[in-house]
Symmetry: C2
Subunit: 134 residues, 2 copies
DNA sequence: GTATTTGCAAATGATTTGCAGTGCT
DNA sequence: AGCACTGCAAATCATTTGCAAATAC
């Protein structure tokens, strides 16, 4: 709780119940889309509206509190802003795991004539659990 | 033209004027969203409808003719299916350039306990032209 | 106390659907 | 000829907006 309040204030946003509960939902899930956030927060705050979530997803992105994770063919998910990392996305169960970008990977991504600012790396495949099932 | 016809037939799709012109528009642009495809194809076939584009974007994805490129905060773009590559996306002019994934990068992306099937790598920064302007 | 934020309902925008007619093979 | 595809209009779904009341600081 307290940490979401300071996270918001550090980024020039007022700390409202709506915002902290949206952040708690995102943090809890790791990666989550707007409809699922709505389902979560409604349990605790039944009057919290979808419009409020849409508005806050926008301002919290603008203020660098959260980051959009675009998904092929489905609605974008959102995650708390954290250090650069890549996503291991399981094509079987849908689970998304964050993984550190190694220094070898970073070096491999140095491209001639392109001034790199940031990267977005998604790896699709099978997670450990789903491998053993197959 | 002929090449789009065979591309469609090879992938079990009937070759219609609508489909070949959508493919021509995608191929020409490299990476393009649905509205821009619509603007393009309407010039040549004014009766071609948006609904037809939506329907065909779906079947052509299902039949491995084209691939979605999800974009943060804006509508997805589409590209012809081609060998695995990464995208260099210029944050200034919006241009997207395809670049080969080197063998060093591939090796760096071998992760323990994850069976990699495919990858999606987007690098954001400044292209050569926009670097020299700044 | 003041400016921002919220929640509602309405407006807009994006995508999908149903169906009669058309065109590919 | 037969089935798949198209174009239109309507339906649905997603997102944004306007505004009065509520809340953070």
């Amino acid at each position: 709780m307290t940490n979401y309040i300071s996270l918001l204030k550090e980024n020039d946003l007022k700390a409202t119940i709506q915002r902290t509960s949206i952040l708690a939902s995102i943090d809890d899930a790791g990666h989550i889309n707007i409809d699922d956030i709505y389902d979560n927060v409604k349990k605790q705050y039944p009057t919290l509206s979808l419009a409020t979530i849409y508005k806050n997803i926008i301002v919290m992105q603008e203020n660098n509190v959260i980051v959009e994770v675009p998904m092929n063919g489905e609605k974008s998910k959102y995650e708390l802003k954290k250090d650069e990392h890549m996503h291991l996305i399981c094509q079987e169960c849908g689970h998304i795991k964050d993984t550190k970008i190694t220094s070898e990977t970073k070096e491999a991504l140095i491209i001639e004539n392109f001034q790199l600012k940031s990267s977005q790396i998604n790896l699709f495949g099978l997670c450990e659990k789903c491998q053993s099932k197959a």
